[in-house]
């Protein structure tokens, strides 16, 4: 194996892993902040307990997101130093801004929040968690501004063998940011909503602390329903945006080998990967044109034509990304999204009809559905990043030119194995703790830690 392949594998593993934790942070911080704000404005103790219970799970998850995020910040330089040299003038800026505006904010105020229950006024304490929520979401904005440059380079000029920033505001206002960022944030809200619904359902089925978990489920159901509708709507504009700026990605996502007008939508396509052609396909006529342009006709370019176009524009080479991966990632993401949409609406329906306690079988479904947003999030990024192959910066730099030239395969193999092993072990510990605290009945938890907080034994037992 060569340095490029190993480095790509390492980037994929560390990034996908990092993004297991990010979406929950984005959504759950907001949900916990809402809970605490309700507590502050109504004085109802149950919302304080909710903020503490979900806050504990938030912190466990947050820690994993933070530490795996450090790797992200460093590995552009470590494995992709040629990339860093080529785009550093542009790409480094949002990364530095992310650290300055977001990382400081979320880490400082999370510390204040965890340790400050007794030290701050109620209002100030609630403000701390809001600042954590704002910090996390601002962090997503800046890293997606960086990623958007890779998807759709704007506001730059080539000079002295590298891309240099010419317009900071063009970078920030990159049209790609404003479809990608809300899609990711809303995806995070959905992830958090199903996380809370899934765990609440677990307790409601067992009739643990019914009032506590009903309220939690309620809040999450509302967030989930709003979130998933937004995800769908934004996802639709995002797909249209991709047809426009990265036609190859959409053609691959649809396994559309030949240009069609009107274009059909693939329900199921089986292809021959070595020959790169379609073997069998069920397609719905005109639907792809409709999705792409909101009308029943319109040309959608196929993979073969795009390959020829790119070869003419950028010189001979292979411009076809791994079609099967993109095709299936897209379908897994959209499929999971549809199921989540139905579940979110049904959850809202149950909440409004006060039926949570009489439908245990339906409730159980939500404990299982907890996994679906994770599947959708991962698949979405697989499509986004793999769909850009062979480019690291679309149209500007290829992946093979981006890798560090000084590394040996052995070095990268060591780090790849090292990261994978430690990440695997941490996942076990993380899931163990999350399960442990998710299953804990909050009333027992609270009496143990609040009633005798001043006495010594609890210092040891908690």
């Amino acid at each position: 194996m060569d340095v490029i392949l190993l480095s790509r594998l390492q980037f994929a593993i560390t990034t996908v892993y990092h993004f297991f934790f990010v979406p929950l942070t984005l959504g759950l911080s907001v949900l916990v902040a809402l809970m605490e704000s309700i507590y502050v404005s109504t004085g109802q103790e149950v919302y304080k307990r909710m903020a503490k219970f979900w806050g504990k799970l938030f912190v466990i998850n947050f820690a994993m997101g933070v530490v795996t995020g450090i790797v992200q910040e460093f590995q552009f330089g470590m494995n992709w130093s040629e990339y860093s040299r080529f785009v550093g003038d542009i790409f480094g800026a949002p990364l530095a801004i992310e650290a300055l505006l977001a990382f400081f904010l979320e880490s400082t105020f999370l510390g204040v929040w965890i340790f400050g229950w007794e030290k701050l006024s109620k209002r100030a304490h609630a403000t701390a968690i809001w600042l954590v929520a704002i910090g996390s979401n601002v962090s997503a904005l800046w890293i997606l501004i960086a990623n958007s440059f890779m998807q759709q380079p704007v506001g730059y000029a080539l000079s002295g063998g590298r891309a240099e920033m010419t317009d900071f505001f063009a970078l920030v206002l990159n049209p790609n940011v404003w479809v990608q960022f809300p899609h990711v944030v809303m995806g995070g809200f959905v992830t958090a909503a199903f996380f809370v619904m899934g765990i609440s359902a677990y307790h409601l089925v067992r009739k643990n602390e019914v009032d506590f978990f009903k309220r939690s489920f309620q809040m999450a159901a509302i967030m989930g329903a709003i979130g998933i509708i937004m995800v769908g709507l934004i996802g639709h504009s995002q797909a249209q945006h991709i047809v426009e700026v990265q036609p190859m990605k959409m053609a691959a996502a649809e396994a559309l080998w030949n240009t069609e007008d009107p274009a059909s939508f693939s329900l199921l396509t089986i292809g021959d990967l070595t020959q790169r052609r379609e073997v069998f396909s069920i397609r719905l006529p005109r639907l792809l044109s409709l999705l792409a342009y909101n009308q029943l006709a319109g040309e959608v370019k196929g993979i073969y034509d795009l390959q020829n176009m790119y070869a003419a524009e950028y010189g001979p080479g292979d411009y076809i990304p791994p079609v099967a991966v993109i095709y299936w990632s897209f379908r897994i993401m959209v499929g999971a999204g549809v199921v989540l949409g139905l579940l979110a609406l049904y959850a809202l329906f149950m909440v409004m009809g006060d039926m949570l306690m009489v439908r245990p079988r339906a409730l159980r479904l939500y404990s299982w559905a907890l996994a679906l947003p994770y599947l959708a999030n991962t698949a979405g990024w697989m499509m986004t990043e793999m769909g850009r192959v062979p480019w690291v910066v679309y149209g500007l730099m290829k992946i093979e030119d981006a890798v560090s030239t000084t590394l040996s395969p052995a070095q990268v193999l060591i780090t790849l194995l090292g990261f994978t092993l430690i990440y695997g072990a941490l996942m076990v510990a993380d899931v163990y703790l999350l399960m442990k605290f998710a299953r804990k009945v909050p009333s027992e938890e609270m009496t143990a830690s609040t009633d005798d907080e001043e006495s010594l034994p609890s210092l040891i037992s908690t």
Binding site: G77, T108, L110, I414, T415, L456
Partner: protein, 344 residues
């Protein structure tokens, strides 16, 4: 007149200074975790460790962001520095990352299960995760001032073991011991009772080795680097005032003036980092192969436009960050006592 390249060089120096002064004491607390928590009763050991972690609990993550921001600022302002350094010190950085990963997780995880084996595992992670980065960062900075093989293409051409020369190793050990002292003083400043006594004792014991190591490192630096041959910047007064501060720290430790002692070790660290950056200036990575291959704040920098944009953003937000981080220290200014409720 200060140009933007120099401004960013100074800003990155400030970020590293902030990082080492702040994370220095929380590395120190982690390094001391297994040692000054010794007691007869296992429960007492656990309580002391919990207290030690609680002294840095609200702060360590915010402290670590100084390093992340330094990394990000290096990328934004000096992309070639970022690229050469991070790809060149590849395996060392990998070890640093692993250490920081297990450390950060350990702080959050260790108290969430009462099983003694679970706690021992994460306490071990906190120790290694604090000691190893201290050592590695010392080695890295030692190599930065000493110079490393960099070719005409700005690529590091030495291997991993090239970094482990005696000078850099001495810098690593010095960092380790200095942070342990800094951490011991911090614990004695933030606690009361047995733990404070143990921390004060540790500080007294660590002081002399720290002085000897720092003196040795400084002497070695005059031979190993071009500190004396540098024109324009005089590095003499800065490292000497760092030495004066560490001597004064010894006086304050003995007089039980923890606040002053802490200020002095903070100054020592600050002056040491200042010395590093004064030796470097205007270079950011010194090539040991050919002086003309060195990366400087000019040949490694971003475009003037990017530097201008980033300057506006940094000068706007750095004061805000400083203000709220200082506020967070104010919130948790009280000493932890035996009766303090130890969160989570």
């Amino acid at each position: 007149m200060l140009d933007l390249n120099t401004l960013w060089f100074v800003l990155i120096a400030v970020l590293y200074s902030g990082f080492f002064v702040l994370e220095g004491f929380d590395f120190g607390v982690g390094i001391l975790l297994p040692f000054i928590s010794r007691a007869q009763e296992p429960q007492e050991v656990d309580r002391r460790r919990r207290m030690m972690i609680n002294t840095i609990g609200p702060h360590w993550d915010g402290n670590e962001v100084w390093l992340l921001t330094a990394g990000g600022a290096t990328f934004a302002a000096f992309p070639h520095w970022y690229a050469t350094l991070f790809s060149g010190f590849y395996l060392a950085l990998f070890l640093l990352l692993l250490a920081l990963i297990v450390r950060g997780v350990a702080f959050e995880f260790r108290s969430k299960d009462a099983n003694p084996k679970w706690r021992r595992l994460w306490d071990g992670a906190i120790f290694i995760g604090s000691a190893l980065p201290a050592l590695l960062l010392g080695v890295a900075f030692g190599n930065l001032v000493r110079g490393v093989p960099i070719d005409a293409e700005m690529n590091y051409v030495g291997g991993f073991f090239n970094l482990l020369n005696p000078y850099a190793l001495l810098a690593g050990v010095t960092a380790l011991v200095t942070f342990a002292l800094h951490g011991a003083i911090f614990i004695s400043l933030k606690t009361e009772g047995d733990l404070k006594v143990a921390a004060s004792k540790a500080a007294q014991r660590l002081w002399l080795p720290t002085v000897i190591l720092l003196l040795g490192l400084l002497t070695f630096t005059y031979f190993e680097t071009d500190i004396l041959a540098r024109l324009g910047v005089n590095p003499g007064i800065v490292p000497l005032s760092g030495m004066a501060a560490i001597l004064l720290a010894g006086y304050f430790i003995r007089r039980q003036r923890e606040g002053w002692a802490f200020l002095m070790t903070a100054l020592t660290i600050l002056m040491t980092i200042a010395t590093v950056f004064m030796i470097l200036y205007p270079r950011v990575m010194i090539s040991s192969l050919d002086a003309s291959f060195s990366l400087t704040i000019y040949n490694a920098s971003s475009s003037p436009y990017t530097l201008r944009v980033m300057s506006i953003i940094a000068l706007t937000f750095v004061p805000v960050v400083l203000a709220y981080q200082a506020w967070s220290y104010w919130v948790f200014r009280k000493r932890l006592t035996v009766t303090s409720a130890l969160e989570y």
